[in-house]
Point group: C2
Chain length 306, copies 2
């Protein structure tokens, strides 16, 4: 089985991770966290989201975060925007890359963003038009790609169709998300193969939640299909898997450990990544959700194995 | 990539899991735990160990456990024995299957059981002779197969040699253990390929610790090599990964979820397995170490995905 020689890791912790915290993290802490991540060698970090503060008050400081954080060259910072209003706020904040999202199923999309798939696609088209006008790059997400809490099984073909629409809309990359963490390796592989028939493989990313402990195994299966872009959240930020079936992100540290162990380059300093995860967890008063982050420093992976 | 259609799961929780508990679990609780596991469809359960009570007081009740637990036909119960004295106690208890163990490196073997590899092999030969005389089946373990905390990298060839010696000694199955959980999928695959040149693939099992979150991905890589026997510990019993680099077992529930999701038969009732894990964790006053066990019942995996 062949694997890519290099993998781009997309860090979603600051947004996907912190948006679920019951107590909002102070803006300066978010900025310090993002700046630390920017120094790990990560090439893509999702810093925040311009969703309505009424929906997610934890991210109401999006503009201040964008304004305060460092933006070294070579690192891309896509911010999540749900609609035209969010896009306008993102543009005011001087954002140059955004991420748009839609679910693979009608019911989840309805419950998640209170709109039908058709309405969502129309709204995203308006966002895409603004993005084109202002020369803003777009990343796309499809959620519930391997299962929906309301509709159950999801057809890979319907995921592929939506991914293609996002690609045609101008997304430079489409991230396929197993939002409730029900997927297993064979299904993940079939999803990639089906979707790659509609969207160039190089344009696809995977986003697995570890709700049932399957995330890293699913990543491995997708790497074997040629996928070379993987989303993850440092310290597994994203809420606890038992509190919400939709949360429990793959921990970036454990992903990077596997990739490096397999001889796959990421450009990431694993020690610095672990330290960034410890920083934000200490600030939030919780222990890291990554396995690596839980190992005392002197017990961290021996050099030979990374 | 091809996977086996059926996998035998070897449950090591009652022994490998409980031997690390600071407070010994009461014998009746152990027996009830093993009896519940015996009703899940598991075909092989490691109930206890006849090591010196001075070494591991938590398992001093080994004979009482063997005497008290049910032993339905079709389920094999290997008990761990380190030497001739342990074997004699196991025989007195009426055991028909044992497991012997040795490390892949001199230093770990010395620190783990206070003997050189040569001395260990001699002692295990004595145990094997007693096993032959009493028609007792033998399973073998090689530990530190992907890394040693004292010697670092481990040559796959040396693991293969030791595995072959255990096979020649009469072990019906040799379990390769990544005792400190440093392995990653490519190294795991290479280990299997190298060892399978010395021991028939059908005689090999894998035993991964999840210390760095790699266990299930490593299992997937080994399944791809044709491995069809996998060790795991219900509820991830075996201590916390951050307290001891050598602990943090792969949770049987998460393994079985993956196997079933891949269409691989195990004969195991996952719900009953999760319940058995919750039983022992409740008795020990801790929360399950499996991801699945942490998901509230109503959020457990939708039927379609198993």
């Amino acid at each position: 089985m062949q694997f890519p020689t290099t993998v781009k890791v997309v860090e979603v912790g600051p947004r996907d991770g912190l948006q679920n915290e019951p107590d909002p993290v102070p803006t300066p802490t978010k900025i310090e966290f993002i700046d630390r991540l920017s120094r790990t060698g990560l090439r893509c970090i999702e810093p925040t989201s311009f969703v309505s503060p009424r929906w997610i008050p934890q991210l109401a400081d999006a503009a201040d975060v964008i304004d305060g954080m460092q933006r070294p060259t070579g690192v891309v910072y896509p911010v999540l925007v749900p609609n035209k209003r969010g896009m306008e706020r993102a543009l005011e904040a001087g954002v140059d890359t955004i991420a748009i999202f839609v679910a693979a199923t009608e019911t989840f999309n309805q419950r998640n963003i209170n709109a039908s798939l058709a309405v969502s696609m129309t709204r995203l088209g308006e966002v895409a038009e603004l993005a084109r006008q202002h020369d803003v790059s777009m990343r796309g997400y499809v959620s519930c790609v391997l299962g929906c809490p309301y509709e159950g099984a999801v057809e890979a073909q319907s995921v592929a169709t939506i991914a293609r629409e996002l690609h045609d809309m101008g997304c430079y990359e489409i991230s396929l998300g197993d939002t409730i963490g029900v997927g297993t390796p064979v299904a993940a592989r079939e999803l990639i193969e089906t979707t790659a028939a509609q969207v160039p493989l190089q344009r696809l990313a995977v986003h697995f939640h570890d709700t049932r402990g399957q995330a890293l195994a699913n990543v491995l299966a997708c790497l074997g299909c040629g996928i070379d872009t993987v989303d993850a959240s440092v310290a597994g930020l994203g809420g606890c898997p038992y509190a919400d079936g939709a949360s429990g992100n793959l921990a970036t540290e454990d992903l990077v450990y596997m990739l490096h162990g397999m001889g796959i380059e990421t450009g990431i300093d694993l020690d610095a990544l672990i330290a960034a995860g410890r920083y934000i967890c200490a600030a939030m008063g919780r222990s890291p959700g990554s396995r690596l982050g839980l190992i005392p420093r002197h017990r961290r992976a021996p050099r030979f194995s990374t």
